[in-house]
Subunit: 207 residues, 3 copies
Amino acid sequence: MIALDALLGWLDVAGVAVFAVSGALVAAQKRLDLVGFTVIAVLTGFGGGTLRDLLLGRTPIFWLQRPELIAAAGAAAFAVFMLRPRPTGEFTALLWADAVGMALYAVLGAEIALLSGAQPWAAVLLGVVTASFGGVLRDVVCDEIPLLFQKEIYALAALAGAATFVALRLNGIWRDPALLIGVAVGFAIRGAAIRFGWSLPTYRPRG
Amino acid sequence: MIALDALLGWLDVAGVAVFAVSGALVAAQKRLDLVGFTVIAVLTGFGGGTLRDLLLGRTPIFWLQRPELIAAAGAAAFAVFMLRPRPTGEFTALLWADAVGMALYAVLGAEIALLSGAQPWAAVLLGVVTASFGGVLRDVVCDEIPLLFQKEIYALAALAGAATFVALRLNGIWRDPALLIGVAVGFAIRGAAIRFGWSLPTYRPRG
Amino acid sequence: MIALDALLGWLDVAGVAVFAVSGALVAAQKRLDLVGFTVIAVLTGFGGGTLRDLLLGRTPIFWLQRPELIAAAGAAAFAVFMLRPRPTGEFTALLWADAVGMALYAVLGAEIALLSGAQPWAAVLLGVVTASFGGVLRDVVCDEIPLLFQKEIYALAALAGAATFVALRLNGIWRDPALLIGVAVGFAIRGAAIRFGWSLPTYRPRG
């Protein structure tokens, strides 16, 4: 289990980096400078966990005690700025990495909420917030309507992963298997949506 | 008074639902999916009270303990998505329901601030925040300049209602009559603005 | 030192007023009403300090106990609305006043973070947040991509000022000289950027 904990510790940093890269790519589309890249990378990487902790009253906020997380976000922004990818390109690898980050954040966010005394439904909700609010902030700050609201199956995958984890924990399953199964469920649904192009219907007015 | 308390309890849920519907109607204009409808409904319904409580330090935030409020917002979003109104239509009924919700939120928000030890002027300010910030969030997230800033008489009505309530309470008037009078003042001003088309002048540069 | 403290007390109010004016000028470009002017002035003036204090858990938030700060922001909004400047005009004086406000907020924000027990690097980061987040909020609410992200040297000047202050304090320099030197460094860099048109390179994709 020590190996798993170590892996999860690294996944935490990797999750921040992946979300930070997704923020930097939107910054690239908008032709921003390095400050813009860094701020948007940080907002995308930490936005979800920050809103969760503010709602729970867990302050001072976690990343003020974790310089390695800030460094990961900053390094991701710097790398994208320097490597100069064309924003029109295909970012398949990023999509899949983002799916891992999303599944992990949803489950870890739900766990932190449970440990803070939140009711199970609220913990699931906060898992979804942790996984998706960073991307919402990224899009709002870049003057776009958030991708989250537009037919991609994303929040639902986070919901399924977080709900699976919470249900397993409430039924006495140990933490590590519950965590792995929750992440797997969230990742599988998101992965299927990416692979098979699943999407939700958007609004059509009557008539 | 028990009947009044029960009524106010239901008005609370109804207020969330009304604001949630106003959020869902903006989501309809933007042709979002059901996730977008739900998130924007929740932001609109809870945004004001959430900002008030974060500023006051009242955490964990209230709606994490009130699943019925979340359910009301979600049901409102679902109903709008399914009923498929045309966003160009006239929503007169909604305007009036929103006026009730606004007046109620302004007064209840000011009361919560007073009970948390805020000074009277700060309580009035937080009443206005409670009544109006959800709509600001709704518009920002949907990539619009908030309606609140554009000549409609809305924040001023919330200000009048909250100030009336706080003034009555400071002068020893009981809670329930103060609450009813405050709501009536806020609703009357907003209602007159709707009925007679009152609006504020917007900025015109010199020359 | 009493004179310096008094001056700093007034600079605090003046800093709010300067940021509030910059918010009101954006409101003028958008042809908003007086409510919009006031709300955006308040967001610009208090946004940075509010985010800093929410992240640190310092609630109730400071401006709920300082009516003179709210009054300064409101008066600034009212003055801009009434004086009706043409938004296309040159606002050189404002640029320089804003540079003073930025330098002061960066250092005072870092000091508050240090006093709250933040690590030095986190205090520098929170100084930058204090100095710049109000302007980000102003631009997001007005449906613009934040100026902060677009090549102006602003956040870097705040970073230099806050870092200078924190480094001096950690090396045993008294508060008042450290504060003055930190403000001078931040202001000098920002001032040079304004005077000589320094800017950061923006993103250019490969090929």
